[in-house]
Amino acid sequence: MDFTYGSYAEMSRFINECIKRIEKYIGFLSSKGKIFLPMDLTPYDAAIEVSSEIFTSDGNTLVKFKSFFDKLKEKPDTEDDYEAILKSFLFSVAKKNLVNIYKDSDPVTARIIRNLNLEIDRSGYFVTELFSDRFVHTEETDFSEKEYCGREELEKILSAAHSKVDFKNAKTFLSSLLNIVNEQDEYIKAVSFGDLVYVYKHSLIEKVESTQKSARQEEIETNIHYKFILEEFRQKFNTKLRKYFSKKNFSDNDQKCMYNVIDAFLKGITDGGQKRGASELTKEFFADGDFARNKNRVEYCIDMLLSELTTVFEKGK
């Protein structure tokens, strides 16, 4: 297991086998709504983006693989062990480098991921890597003790404790969010990294809401300015939505349902109304079809909307 190959072709075959594993892993997480791949990126493209750094070679030796396996305290005894360790290494790299897939097409998400990563590292939080994600927590945790709350339940928990969440920056956000999670006893006291990113993006809603409120209090021109920004935003976002519909072969009816979802979600934001979760919106607007699949699509579109809205909001500041 020295990861030295007899020929370049042999090494290249191994590299492509690894890429296939990562591609399937990313495809799987994406199908489960654990990550939202940018529209113009396939799982194969994403696999290359997240993993190219580990294929550094010296001659026909893959040095990063060699170093990882050399440092293992318990070497794999069986083929199954080796396969599990290899996959664990590849998936860990994929999760660590997830930011790479957003760099070009979704800089808002890329920035959120980078800031959260920096803060988690700087503050010395506990990070435990499981299969689907990395989980962040403040104390040693037994992950077999309780179940995870999940994205929507987390949002409910945070919403109920609204005044305690401080979205000012990554530092205050993480510490206040983890405090709230620690206060409850129903679920495990940890949050998945993907959900941290999703919730942090939602924090922009608070900013838009507060901007709207201040706009109402200020001069009427300011109010008109923000309305104009949001109208322009909606038009641009519809173009992006149409591209997504075409790519995912949305039926005319499904397109109408999704437009209604987006309208309702935006209305909640701009009118300062109650934030509505993906499940609730899916139930209301997608009466037929596979609920889980539709909910995934709703979550994807809301995530896309939040990235775009953040960009518009920041430009309008």
Partner: protein, 247 residues
């Protein structure tokens, strides 16, 4: 510095508890094993015969195309033609099986361009056009228009066009000056990729059955310099994300 622990290896080895979040993650990992056995649609077809599509000149005037049975997109082509009636001459070459058309537009001084009109079901990725009479391949510009050059008098019935899609693709990712090749086609192998000062030399283990190859590096797109098994890419064209497409 965060305090990191990796439990994923244990999950993948099925050695973790089956309760709580660990139990859920274990089930998810088992679902993934089933998912991994499914074939991934790689988007690049592998049979060279299946990726060359002939487009046949449609003699009818564009008004008559409205009655054509291929549906929405060709109707749109007709509309475009009507709209463009006063701006230049348009000819349509049709592939009815794909519900797609190639619109040839005669601009000033018989400068000829082509553009593909496709239905959502037959969206082409990285297409090239081949003209049988000139035996030339054409790459689209950034707006997906193929510039076919100047013709003394373009007679549409004398020309035949084919659309080609890639049969094989190599993606390169740059990591600290090293170019790492990625490809999913199991029939071919790379013998070597040499990073030289002035160029990247790619040597294939077998001649890939291809008519032509294109290099894409950022916005740059042009025909690659392929000689037998070897492909040379000049340093000037190397980018952090680069692909070689074989047609």
């Amino acid at each position: 510095m965060s305090k990191f622990k990796n439990l994923n290896t244990e999950i993948l080895k099925k050695k973790t508890a089956s309760k709580g979040l660990l139990g859920k993650e274990r089930i998810l990992a088992e679902d993934f094993e089933k998912f991994s056995t499914q074939k991934i649609k790689d988007g690049i077809k592998v049979n060279p015969d299946s990726v060359l599509y002939s487009f046949i000149y449609q003699r009818q005037r564009y008004e008559m195309l409205q009655g054509y049975e291929t549906g929405l997109k060709l109707a749109a082509a007709t509309e475009s033609a009507s709209a463009a009636r006063n701006r230049g001459k348009n000819y349509f070459y049709i592939n009815a099986d794909l519900d797609s058309a190639l619109r040839i537009k005669i601009k000033n001084s018989n400068e000829v361009t082509a553009s593909l009109i496709t239905s959502p079901q037959s969206e082409f990725s990285n297409p090239l056009i081949h003209c049988r009479e000139t035996d030339k391949y054409y790459i689209p510009d950034g707006k997906n228009v193929f510039n076919l050059g100047k013709f003394e008098a373009f007679k549409p019935e004398h020309f035949h066009f084919d659309v080609l899609l890639p049969v094989f693709k190599i993606d390169f990712a740059e990591n600290k000056g090293e170019y790492i090749p990625f490809f999913t086609h199991s029939d071919y192998e790379l013998r070597t990729v040499i990073n030289r000062n002035e160029e990247l030399l790619v040597e294939m283990s077998d001649d890939i059955p291809h008519r032509t190859a294109v290099i894409q590096s950022g916005a740059y797109r042009d025909f690659a310099n392929v000689k037998g098994k070897n492909i040379k890419i000049s340093k000037a064209l190397l980018g952090s994300k680069m692909s070689l497409l074989f047609y």
